[in-house]
């Protein structure tokens, strides 16, 4: 059962994640992107970026490392097998570019119970190593109760 006192809890920043060029390309191909900025270094540089630009949903990879903290927290009571993704949002200050080193810090913003289910909303703030904001990833997870 989800701990109702989880709301407001902030987890420690994740270890820095180095965004690799081939990782960006593999992710872009996996979401069926044909964007030259994600696939071609020369096209990305011609557009003013240091390296290939990650697709808009790439921050999920870093957000996942923050959500793993929640799933590993026994006191939180979130059972991964019962989790269904409800909502997802990404709000950017700038796109993610290969070569970035990024850190995610997650806060549980609300816990609501609806019938036997719980809705856990979290916000993962993703910054560079200087602390500058890159993107905030917000998720609502529905945790199904006992059937």
């Amino acid at each position: 059962m989800v701990n109702p006192e989880l709301a407001g809890r902030t987890y420690p920043p994740t270890a820095p994640y180095l965004v690799g060029r081939e990782t960006v390309r593999a992710f872009a191909r996996a979401v069926q992107s044909t964007d030259p900025l994600s696939l071609d270094v020369d096209a990305a540089r011609a557009a003013g970026y240091a390296d290939v630009v990650a697709p808009p949903t790439f921050p999920i990879v870093i957000q996942q490392t923050t959500l793993e903290q929640l799933l590993a927290d026994e006191d939180a009571g979130v059972d991964f097998a019962r989790v269904v993704h409800g909502d997802q949002r990404f709000t950017f200050s700038r796109p993610i570019v290969a070569g970035d080193e990024l850190v995610g810090t997650m806060t549980v913003t609300s816990v609501k119970t609806l019938g036997g289910n719980a809705m856990v909303t979290s916000e993962s703030v993703i910054t560079d190593l200087d602390g500058a904001h890159v993107v905030t990833a917000t998720s609502a997870l529905v945790v199904r109760g006992d059937a």
């Binding site: 990782t23 011609a46 796109p95």
Partner: protein, 143 residues
């Protein structure tokens, strides 16, 4: 398909349309690229054991693929422009048949216009039924 310039856009106008075919291969590729190895996205036995109608596409694969037609449209006017904000609600799972796969249809329309840019609304359907709700992309527009 018009270029993304505020003066030439109208609310309700379709800016991009695409049909994507998703197969089990697509799901395995996404699992590897994203690190999401939940077995409900590649094992029929596990999907059945947790009461699902079949192997499902990752919601984040649908979300990720659905925005790409908007990215391509944006590039046509400004090669350096990127998405400012993107949100969806997962309203219905996409079941991926082992032989037939699934076809995801995406229609992107101008939902709202203001000085800072445009809100593009995505209609994302499988067999005519919406699989994403409130799918909205904020994009900047060249001055």
């Amino acid at each position: 398909m018009s270029a993304p310039e505020a003066g030439r856009l109208a609310v309700g106008e379709i800016v991009a349309e695409r049909e994507l075919h998703v197969t089990r291969d697509t799901l395995v590729r996404y699992a590897g690229a994203s690190g999401d190895f939940n077995p409900i996205h590649y094992r029929d036995d596990v999907a059945a054991a947790v009461g699902l109608p079949g192997v499902l596409a990752h919601g984040m694969l649908t979300m990720g693929a659905a925005v790409q037609p908007v990215v391509d449209w944006l590039r046509a006017a400004d090669p350096s422009a990127t998405v400012a904000d993107y949100q969806v609600r997962f309203t219905r799972p996409v079941v991926v048949d082992p032989e037939l796969g699934a076809t995801v249809r995406i229609v992107a329309k101008v939902g709202a216009l203001d000085e800072s840019g445009a809100r593009i609304d995505l209609a994302v359907t499988v067999d005519g039924a919406a699989v994403l709700g409130k799918a909205q992309v904020r994009v900047p527009l060249p001055a």
